[in-house]
Amino acid sequence: MTTLLYTHPACLEHDTGFGHPECPARLTAILNVLHTSPFAALEWRDAPQAEIAQLTRIHPQGHVERLLACVPRQGHYAIDGDTILSPRSGEAALRAAGAVCAAVDAVLKGEASNAFCAIRPPGHHAEPKQAMGFCLLDNAAIGAAHARAAHGLERVAIIDFDVHHGNGTQAAFEQEAGYLYISTHQAHIYPGTGRRNERGVGNIVNIPLLANSGTADLRHVWRQDIEPALREFQPQLILISAGFDAHYLDPLAELNFNEDDYRWLTEQILAMAAEYGQGRVVSVLEGGYNLPALAASVAAHVKALMEAPRIVQRSLVKGILERRKAKKNAASS
């Protein structure tokens, strides 16, 4: 089964103003690399606009209406110093959220085992009643809620490896035990939330990392925090808030992940999805502001998604061998 790629031209027309780091060129850089021959097997699909009923599972209807009413006819409108609207921002936001819902539908219907949503504006800072931090609607949260409401899933996990904490997603789900939210992020930077002691109803796992943390720290927290939390929760579907701004060349933060770390992390997530959720993964673009680093990181991430069957098989074989070895050790001792 192939990997689906959801995107839409409207996402390129959300204009944040001259020089803004969350710019259309981010998406252009990503789509350019995904158009090259190693990615020929991707199945490209147009992102539909989300329906209002899909948004209101996370954002109150009044808030959505006020937000869309702020979209200017011309020029720009600043929600805050970071978060800028242009005339096409409304449609872009609806397509971004719609992409995730459509990807969830396709993956849960078995049309593909996984999907990547190459969309902007990003979503994970958008709180139920407040757009902020470049984000208008919480795309990943809307997709997760859709999986439960429209498909009757009981346990949906969101893994957020953007360098910033996803305050919006946490706010949406901190009282909802049917969702597990796991976030790695740099401590003490925007938006200031995401401390370890913010645990929701036991369904929020925050993993703040100190500036300059890199490959070894990522692998450590995977074993220590992320994998155990996933094994306990046993998600039927995993969504990824895939920000690539923890890259060592990113100008907005100070973590030191590289492209190979993103490949590795994606493979670990796929193995967990195979064990508990029939391999179902929907990944959603969040941040990443150094264009070459972003393109290379997305390429590594999507390549891993496309190679899921091989990765899953390898991890299953590894699991069988480990269990056999453990049994043998137990018998001989």
Binding site: G17, F18, G19, H20, P21, H63, R66, L67, A69, C70, P72, G75, H76, Y77, A78, I79, D80, I84, Q130, A131, A211, L249, D250, P251, L252, A253, E254, Y289, N290
Partner: protein
């Protein structure tokens, strides 16, 4: 407004900086500080590998009171080699580090300047003044037109 995010260390650093060898005397280092306006000087070996950094602070520290003598032996200390007082294993940065991250590091370390190293060789020095100049350049143009209205 966001142009600063595009800058990297190599865009604004001083390339091919003045350096000293490990056996340069502190008297020579002091003279260097008097004739130039920099705060620290990199110490390199013959292959231009970075061995350390001597700053004005390191120099002052060499003359401070310690357990070895009741009064510092000022004349003798001036004849010591740079390697006796330099900070070893100094923090250095790569030329392609985004300037925003360099700024962050400078603030956290309260550093006045940092050596720039590529492939194990010293290729430049970046100082607070270089970053300030880049900040001015990045903010001088392009004000984003926005309507200031209450947020939704």
């Amino acid at each position: 407004m966001y142009e600063f995010l595009q800058y990297q260390v190599c865009d604004v650093m001083t390339g091919d900086p003045i350096t000293i060898g490990p056996d340069a005397k502190l008297r020579e280092v002091e003279e260097l500080f008097e004739s130039h306006d920099f705060n620290g000087v990199p110490v390199v070996d013959a292959q231009r590998r970075l061995l350390g950094v001597v700053t004005k602070f390191d120099l002052l520290k060499a003359f401070s009171f310690d357990a070895h003598a009741l009064i510092p032996h000022y004349d003798e200390i001036m004849e010591q080699p740079a390697e006796a007082v330099m900070s070893r294993d100094p923090v250095s940065v790569a030329p392609h580090l985004p300037l925003s991250r360099l700024l962050q590091k400078m603030v956290e370390m309260r550093a006045k300047s940092l050596p720039v190293v590529e492939n194990d060789r010293l290729i430049g020095v970046i100082a607070r003044e270089d970053v300030l100049k880049a900040l001015r350049r990045a903010t001088i143009r392009h004000e984003l037109p926005v309507h200031e209205e209450p947020s939704p």
